[in-house]
């Protein structure tokens, strides 16, 4: 075999991404007003169903929402918690319940020939849930113990304080307090379940290579829920600004959270700002990582993210640094803001970030499970998949001048909320 000599100084030619295909799920409006989204085309035996309920932590008091989610499948008129679990084990199914501020998402995973059977078990016990007093008491106790451990972590302390200040004045600032565990109320959980689960189905996602008849059978069962969704709480934002340090005796590191109100995907600046945010702190080669980790060694990691919700969005920069380098870290973050506001991002760096973002989008659209998440990200804020075509063209088009302008508009140090703990 003849071997061409290799010149290792020369990088291989790069090939841009020509096309990304975005596959919309098949949408079906159920009789109760909720939508069933199905994505098929999966070339293996796995499948999942995701139910989205209007039962997030801000829909009532956060502890009730959290306990209800934790106890959903913990005993019904028909079966005990243990019997339900055994029935699910017998079909090899797994489930989890995750809670955001707006939504409770119940996901059931099983092989495709067992998904419907698994859901039947689930369905019967979700509708018949009785929240046995003993189960409630045990969960309250174990959650309280876990909370005590969390309270010792500087990242937990800083994150909670940050959210409370940033979202001040809104329902989103409500958080579980230790004393809440003493007043957990079974009747409140039952009422919450009746209102927010049995009557609060928002949408359902189904992924897998499932038969038409199976999907139809799912639809019939899902129509037993009602879909009387509560009005979104009025969002009157009164965010706080300025610096607060929470001292923790004996801490080796301080957790830092810096941020400000921003917007979600519906805002005209969102796509371009995502590019700016990536340059600042949302990939391994970002300005913050290069400076604070790779040049100074102050931290194991630092990142900047846009957190989105249906009604709002905010920017948050988070890290954990040695206590002695905390102040220096603040100064360096401020320095990186100033650079973005005064200098133009060099072309090479900007092109790198744009290519990186395209590669990540290609990966996010790879396969039905990833595609569904991508779809959910836009559907949740009231957009459709055409958002991604707009995103691609805006990312390609945005130039250094526009990004500097965005930095001048949004990366204003005096408008930031600066929290540290440790």
């Amino acid at each position: 075999m003849t071997q061409k000599a290799i010149d290792r100084h020369i990088a291989p030619a790069l090939h841009p991404i020509e096309h990304i295909s975005f596959v919309a799920p098949n949408a079906q409006l159920l009789a109760n007003g909720a939508t069933l989204f199905c994505l098929s085309g999966l070339q293996n035996d796995t499948s999942k169903i995701e139910l989205h309920f209007a039962a997030g932590s801000t829909t009532n008091d956060p502890l009730t929402a959290s306990l209800c989610a934790g106890l959903l499948i913990n005993g019904s008129h028909q079966k005990t918690a243990k019997q339900i679990q055994k029935a699910l084990d017998a079909v090899g199914a797994y489930y989890d319940v995750s809670l955001t501020q707006e939504t409770a998402v119940v996901t059931l995973y099983a092989l495709k020939n067992q998904l419907y059977n698994a859901y039947l078990i689930f369905h019967e016990n979700l509708f018949g849930a009785i929240f046995p007093a003993k189960e409630v008491k045990d969960l309250v106790h174990s959650r309280r113990q876990k909370f005590l451990v969390q309270e010792q972590k500087v990242s937990f302390i800083a994150q909670r304080y940050f959210q409370r200040c940033l979202l001040a004045g809104t329902a989103y600032a409500k958080q579980i307090q230790l004393s809440d565990f003493d007043h957990a109320d079974r009747a409140a959980i039952q009422a919450f379940h009746a209102q927010h689960y049995l009557c609060g189905l928002k949408k359902v996602y189904l992924v897998g290579d499932l038969q038409e008849a199976t999907i139809k059978a799912f639809a019939n069962l899902l129509e037993q829920y009602q879909s009387k969704l509560p009005q979104s709480a009025v969002f009157e934002w009164q965010p706080e600004q300025g610096a607060t340090h929470i001292e923790q005796d004996g801490a080796l590191q301080s957790a830092v959270r810096i941020g400000r109100p921003l917007f979600n995907k519906t805002h005209p600046d969102f796509c371009s700002f995502s590019v700016l945010n990536t340059v600042l702190g949302d990939y391994f080669g970002s300005r913050l990582m290069s400076n604070i980790r790779e040049d100074k060694g102050y931290t194991y990691g630092i990142g900047s993210h846009i957190v989105e919700s249906k009604q709002f969005g905010y920017l948050v920069i988070g890290t954990e640094v040695g206590v002695q380098t905390r102040e220096a870290t603040f100064r360096e973050i401020q320095y990186e803001f100033e650079r973005l506001k005064t200098e133009l991002i060099p072309e090479e760096e900007l092109n790198l970030v744009k290519s990186y973002l395209m590669g990540q989008l290609l990966k996010s659209a790879d396969g039905p499970y990833a595609m569904l998440d991508l779809f959910a990200n836009v559907e949740t804020v009231g957009l459709d998949l055409s958002y991604y075509d707009r995103y691609i063209s805006e990312v390609k088009a945005v130039d250094a001048k526009k990004l500097r302008e965005l930095a001048q508009r949004y990366l204003i140090w005096e408008e930031m909320l600066l929290i540290s703990a440790g």
Binding site: L14, Q145, F284, G285, K296, G359, Y369
Partner: protein
């Protein structure tokens, strides 16, 4: 069933290729046969520190990440007690970029003093963040030297203490590279929609001129069978007392591993497991409890850990736990319970195999264990287990004389 092709280069590099026609992405996984178990007891934490240095520029390329990001990709790595594993995920049309980068750092690193100084600091902050600055974070730093007295699993990948990282010199780092980073000590696995001929040509082009080097023999002190119960108790200001019962088990490919995996799943199940139903639910001794295995290549540990409830004590738990474990020795698990455990494991595996990266890592890992074919035999190894095997194994495993107990007592 995961299909793959295998070929070797003359310099000793083992290459696996798994074709996935449905994806526009490619995965390049490089496993180096070096982990914390290969470290000098006086220089622990080295394999992991070294993993950080592998991103600090190689002999012809000043920065590892930037070219990969410009190709639309990203990269990361992890170090365990057994291996150091690097991976790149990028659009398939830019596969060459990942091969160019991986082959150059296999050839040699840039070894800049700045990179060493900075990564030393980064690792020290990682040590604080993950092990020292949170309650119970250092439990395994205490449990390992209790459960292992001879084998190098007695220290964690982060190292025995920060001082070993602080003291690392440039010449130590160079020696470590020379010894462990060469084609004969690596397994390369590529996943994506490619033809085998293309993969062969590209791998040859980028990797075949890297000089071969003899693989250094691994002489690890085996851990002798434990003959006596060991206990260590630490007094500490924590929200609740915690406990870690660690039992000696077998190697990754031993039948022990599969038996232990099933037993720990059965025992530790959050709703139906005996630990939960008896100790948390019925007796109210603990606020959380679980069972799991470490699954290391050499002899691993079967661990039962959890936290004690307020006003209950570690000794109360201990008194009740042992008779409970005896049930596994005296009674056979039901046939249906065993079938359910196996079905759950198989479902979990089907979901895990969805991911391209997970397939690439697992193929590489099984190749290291002996042959990538083993990946397709895992399921049968579980299915061949009988209830009486589990009972016999429990009698051997759950012996108090083979147990090391770490307690962190709340003050």
């Amino acid at each position: 069933m995961i299909t793959f092709e295998r070929f070797n280069l003359d310099n000793g590099l083992r290459v696996l290729f798994h074709k996935e026609p449905t994806t526009p992405m490619a995965v390049v996984n490089v496993l180096y046969d070096v982990g914390a178990r290969d470290e000098d007891p006086q220089q622990t934490g080295f394999a992991h520190l070294f993993e950080h240095l592998m991103f600090g520029g190689s002999v012809h390329i000043p920065d590892f990440d930037a070219p990969l990001q410009a190709a639309g990709g990203q990269s990361n790595a992890f170090t365990s007690n057994d291996i150091t594993n690097y991976y790149d995920v990028l659009p398939a049309q830019n596969l060459d970029t990942a091969l160019w980068l991986e082959s150059d750092r296999m050839l040699s690193l840039a070894f800049t003093p700045k990179s060493l100084e900075v990564q030393r600091q980064v690792v020290i902050e990682e040590f604080k963040q993950r092990y020292l600055n949170q309650p119970y974070g250092d439990a395994w730093l205490h449990l390992r030297p209790l459960a292992y007295q001879k084998h190098p699993y007695r220290w964690a990948t982060i190292g025995k203490n920060i001082k070993h990282i602080q003291d690392a010199t440039m010449s130590d780092v160079r020696d470590f590279f020379k010894k462990h980073y060469h084609p004969g000590n690596a397994i390369l696995c590529i996943v994506g929609n490619f033809e085998l001929a293309t993969i062969k040509e590209k791998v040859n082009f980028y990797f075949s001129d890297i000089p071969s080097q003899p693989k250094s023999a691994r002489k690890l002190s085996p851990e002798p069978p434990q003959k006596k119960f060991r206990i260590k108790t630490i007094q500490r200001k924590v929200p609740a007392s915690s406990f870690y019962y660690a039992f000696q088990m077998g190697k990754r490919l031993d039948q022990d591993y599969y038996l232990s995996d099933l037993l720990s799943d059965h025992m530790g199940n959050e709703k139906t497991g005996i630990l939960f139903t008896e100790l948390q639910r019925k007796k109210k001794l603990v606020s959380e409890i679980t069972a799991y295995i470490t699954g290391s290549i050499d002899n691993g540990l079967f661990v039962i850990s959890g936290k004690i409830n307020p006003k209950r004590s570690l000794s109360e738990l201990d008194a009740v736990l042992w008779p409970l474990l005896d049930q596994y020795k005296s009674k056979k698990m039901s046939q249906s319970a065993l079938r359910e455990l196996i079905l759950k494991l198989q479902t979990a595996k089907a979901f895990q195999d969805q991911g391209l990266l997970s397939r690439a890592m697992n193929l590489s890992f099984f190749e290291l264990l002996g042959s990538a074919e083993l990946i397709n035999q895992e399921s049968a190894r579980f299915e061949n287990i009988q209830t009486k095997d589990l009972q016999t194994y429990a009698q051997q495993l759950l012996d108090k004389n083979r147990c090391s107990l770490l307690q962190i007592q709340a003050q």
